[in-house]
């Protein structure tokens, strides 16, 4: 077997950070190579170097044994390297075929688009690799899994032999993930080489031949997948033992705190995103809302906290109707929320941590006295929360944007939980966080439950839903597909519900 990619002694420095420090990576031709590591470990930097988006300070890159100089994106493409980014780079109003051929379109008499050739070329490549698509469909009408297939075809159309997939399963349903794995296997069977970036250890075990683990900009281990296990991989990534499973006691549910009846909510495109949803959350329990993103979760949460009007239906917290209250009034009733987009709604990025920690209570004592803020109380408040929530920051005065994702989320958690909410909503609370921070966030969510809060957990990560929730409901196209006790749920069963399939029975039965 020959070596497809060899990266030797790669060093890449960003202002103040060594993103890649003497990194070596070797990928054999025809293998599926997993590149794992926490956020900020340097995986994406390394791949961006390979794809010509970053320029290393030092190091050598060899492709198929030959030393190469990749100065720009186009050089990498010419060398047969293709990359599917985490955030797709597609033009929504263009057709599948237009997106695939964009930038190297077949022409007709030199100046016109040869639309038939565009269509035919795309059909041909789709048949050759067994990746089914309809060339004339518009991207904006396609589900995420198909869009990803278009991204892969884009790389194949440019004759990529080496495919980099950056966290490809983050946006997929379990079914779509299985399809993707099928595609990856058939690509490898067709002689392609795949580099698979992920931090989901289960997927590493399932799909990869070999694994390279990175931590703090360095490679900390290379191993054959058959010779390792998830616990060992987690230890490599984090540098210490990690609890992959959350420890929690049996829930002690009490009174109903949140009661939702026949709720209908519209999304930004004025389509019905939530369609007649009803459920309860009791004090002292965690209700997990599972589902592939974009099935109404965001709109549901926004309707509860007051960011989006409910079209009709009831939202009650502690028997009080929320729909007529504004956001602050709802918070005063006892609602707290960790929003799914922490950079937009979770914090004010240019404001200091101290200021970010008081935005939910700056208007009332003890933070304020009449119209005036009390700086000494605010400072003490910030200091206390930074300590209790273990926010790693040089000081309480640095702007929020200076913090890492995990520390930023701790700031949000600190603010929202310090309000001692009766209803605590956590939307995608660990998205983009590394294993260490995930563990922390999970512990805090369970603590909030044990203190007696009703917790509504919304997550697209099945593992997270299953390990935290006392009860689980699955949202699919804005409707509840099913509900089940957390302990009885199986991944396969929830996966079916997430894909909108009910006919095969209860998730419990489907799992066996």
């Amino acid at each position: 077997m020959t070596t497809a990619v060899e990266m030797l002694g790669i060093r890449k420095v960003f202002p103040g950070v060594v993103a890649n420090d003497n990194v070596n990576l070797s990928v054999e031709e025809g293998e599926i190579h997993a590149l794992i590591g926490e956020n900020g470990a340097g995986k994406s930097t390394l791949m961006n170097v390979l794809f010509g988006l970053h320029h290393p300070e030092a190091g050598v890159i060899k492709i198929r044994g030959k030393e190469v100089h990749i100065r720009k994106n186009a050089d990498a493409i010419a060398l047969g390297i293709g990359m599917v980014h985490q955030k797709f780079k597609l033009v929504p109003s263009f057709t599948v075929a237009e997106n695939i051929t964009l930038g190297s379109e077949p022409r007709h008499r030199g100046i016109f688009l040869d639309r038939k050739a565009v269509h035919d070329n795309v059909m041909e490549i789709s048949r050759r690799f067994g990746l089914q698509i309809s060339p004339d469909a518009r991207i904006q009408d396609l589900p995420v899994g198909v869009q990803q297939r278009v991204e892969i075809l884009k790389a194949l159309y440019r004759q990529a032999d080496i495919l980099i997939l950056d966290e490809p399963t983050a946006v997929l349903t379990p079914k779509e993930t299985r399809d993707l794995f099928g595609v990856i296997r058939s690509l490898v069977a067709n002689g392609k080489t795949v580099i698979f970036i992920t931090h989901k250890l289960r997927e590493v075990m399932e799909i990869s031949d070999r694994v390279t683990a990175m931590r703090d900009g360095k490679v900390v281990g290379v191993t054959k997948t058959t010779e390792t296990n998830p616990t060992q991989l987690a230890r490599m990534m984090v540098g210490r033992d990690v609890l992959l499973r959350v420890t929690k006691t049996e829930a002690q549910p009490k009174d109903v705190v949140l009661q939702i009846r026949d709720l209908h909510v519209f999304d930004d495109r004025n389509l019905k995103a939530v369609q007649g949803v009803s459920f309860d959350v009791r004090a002292g329990e965690i209700l997990g809302i599972a589902g592939v993103e974009g099935n109404g979760q965001r709109e549901l949460v926004e309707a509860i906290v007051g960011l989006r009007p409910a079209w009709n239906g009831e939202i009650q917290v502690k028997a009080q109707n929320l729909t007529t209250l504004n956001i602050r009034q709802r918070r005063e009733v006892g609602v707290s929320c960790v929003p799914e987009d922490r950079y937009v709604r979770g914090v004010a990025l240019p404001a200091s941590i101290e200021d970010n920690l008081i935005v939910n209570n700056y208007f009332k004592p003890p933070i304020a006295q009449g119209p005036l803020l009390k700086p000494d109380v605010i400072a003490r408040h910030a200091q206390e929360l930074i300590e209790t929530f273990d926010v790693r920051t040089p000081s309480k005065d640095v702007p929020a944007y200076a913090l890492s994702g995990g520390n930023l989320q701790k700031v949000v958690l600190a603010r929202e939980l310090s309000a001692q909410p009766d209803l605590f909503i956590a939307a995608q609370p660990t998205r983009g966080l590394d294993i260490g921070s995930i563990e922390f966030v999970h512990r805090r969510i369970v603590e909030a439950r044990d203190r007696g809060a009703a917790v509504l957990l919304v997550s697209a990560e099945l593992e997270e839903i299953m390990s935290l929730s006392d009860r689980i409901v699955v949202l699919y196209e804005g409707k509840i597909m099913g509900a089940i006790e957390g302990a009885r749920a199986t991944e396969e069963g929830l996966g079916l519900w997430m894909a909108g399939i009910t006919s095969e029975g209860s998730p419990e039965a489907a799992g066996h």
Partner: protein, 320 residues
């Protein structure tokens, strides 16, 4: 009831050959200003400098025609000015990253003062410059077509730029939807990152779009100064750069849409001229009409969009 008086009024003030001719004439600079806005907006650039570009085009058209005694040289001079002003706009806003709105405002103010200054310095007059030595663009009679009743007078006998504007509408459509570069331009406008990762030079595409917008605008300018009366008047763009932006929005960013909404503008302006002769309304109010029409059109457009949104909401609610 007898509605013939309505028909009578419609025929007298709106649908007669003279008015339709007026509509096509007066729509021409708006069509070109609309294409100026279209080509940049489809590339993802907010270009508000059309007004200034038109003004420069108008001035250089007159200057070129006056000094070379040729309308074609005026046309050429104007187009060159469009390229230069467009190039400067692109250079500052795209390459040196000046704020695009501020840059647009700067160009508009600069064009206004520069043309006033140049008129005084070069021609030694203030306000307006006209001279028998300025050659106008000759009307073009289209053989055969010109002899057909109704269609002949309606479609034949305009100056070159009127026909050029029609051709440019068609060419812009072909460019956008039938050529690779049009595909690139739309991709750059809609998702620049996608275009970039596929090796499309986003900067270059946008540069080209701004230069093209300069040429479109300058043609609108030449039409104003050489199309009918051969003269340059201070501030003669009279808001057409901005109306072009409105027409582009109203026309949904499509070449044909721009053309049709420009006709709407043209007919309103024509009616305005007719009414001035009738002395039934104050002249100042009448000259406001085209702008009021633009405002009204945009308002109706937005309201209808909102209504469609609401209807969709209600439909969805019924289905649920």
């Amino acid at each position: 009831m007898d509605f013939s008086w309505i028909l009578d009024i419609l025929q007298r003030y709106v649908f007669n050959i003279a008015n339709l001719q007026g509509m096509l004439r007066l729509a021409t600079p708006v069509v070109l200003a609309g294409l100026c806005a279209l080509i940049t907006s489809r590339a993802g650039i907010l270009n508000i400098a059309g007004e200034g570009m038109i003004l420069f085009g108008a001035w250089f058209g007159v200057a070129g025609s006056y000094f070379f005694r040729s309308a074609w040289m005026g046309l050429l001079a104007a187009m060159l000015s469009g390229l230069v002003v467009g190039g400067l706009f692109a250079l500052f806003s795209l390459k040196f990253r000046a704020h695009i709105i501020i840059m647009g405002i700067a160009i508009n103010i600069f064009a206004n003062s520069a043309t006033i200054f140049l008129t005084r310095e070069v021609f030694g007059v203030a306000g307006a410059f006209s001279d028998p030595n300025i050659a106008g663009l000759p009307p073009i009679e289209i053989p055969i077509l010109k002899d057909i009743p109704v269609l002949g007078p309606l479609l034949s006998g305009y100056t070159f730029i009127v026909y050029l504007a029609w051709i440019l509408v068609a060419l812009t459509y072909v460019f956008l939807y039938r050529t690779p570069w049009g595909l690139h331009l739309r991709a750059v406008g809609e998702n620049p990152q996608a275009a970039e990762t596929l090796g499309i030079n986003v900067q270059r595409v946008r540069f080209g779009a701004v230069m093209a917008s300069g040429v479109f605008a300058s043609l609108a300018g030449v039409y104003l100064s050489l199309g009918h009366l051969q003269m340059f008047t201070e501030q003669m763009a009279a808001g057409r750069g901005f109306i072009g932006m409105a027409v582009n929005t109203f026309g949904g960013g499509e070449p044909v849409g721009v053309f049709l909404s420009s006709l709407l503008f043209g007919i309103v302006e024509t009616i305005g001229w007719r009414l001035q002769g009738e002395r039934i309304m104050p002249v100042y109010f009448i000259s406001m009409l085209p702008y009021l029409a633009t405002l009204a059109a945009l308002t109706i457009f937005t309201l209808r969009k909102q209504q469609a949104k609401k209807a969709a909401l209600e439909r969805a609610a019924r289905e649920a």
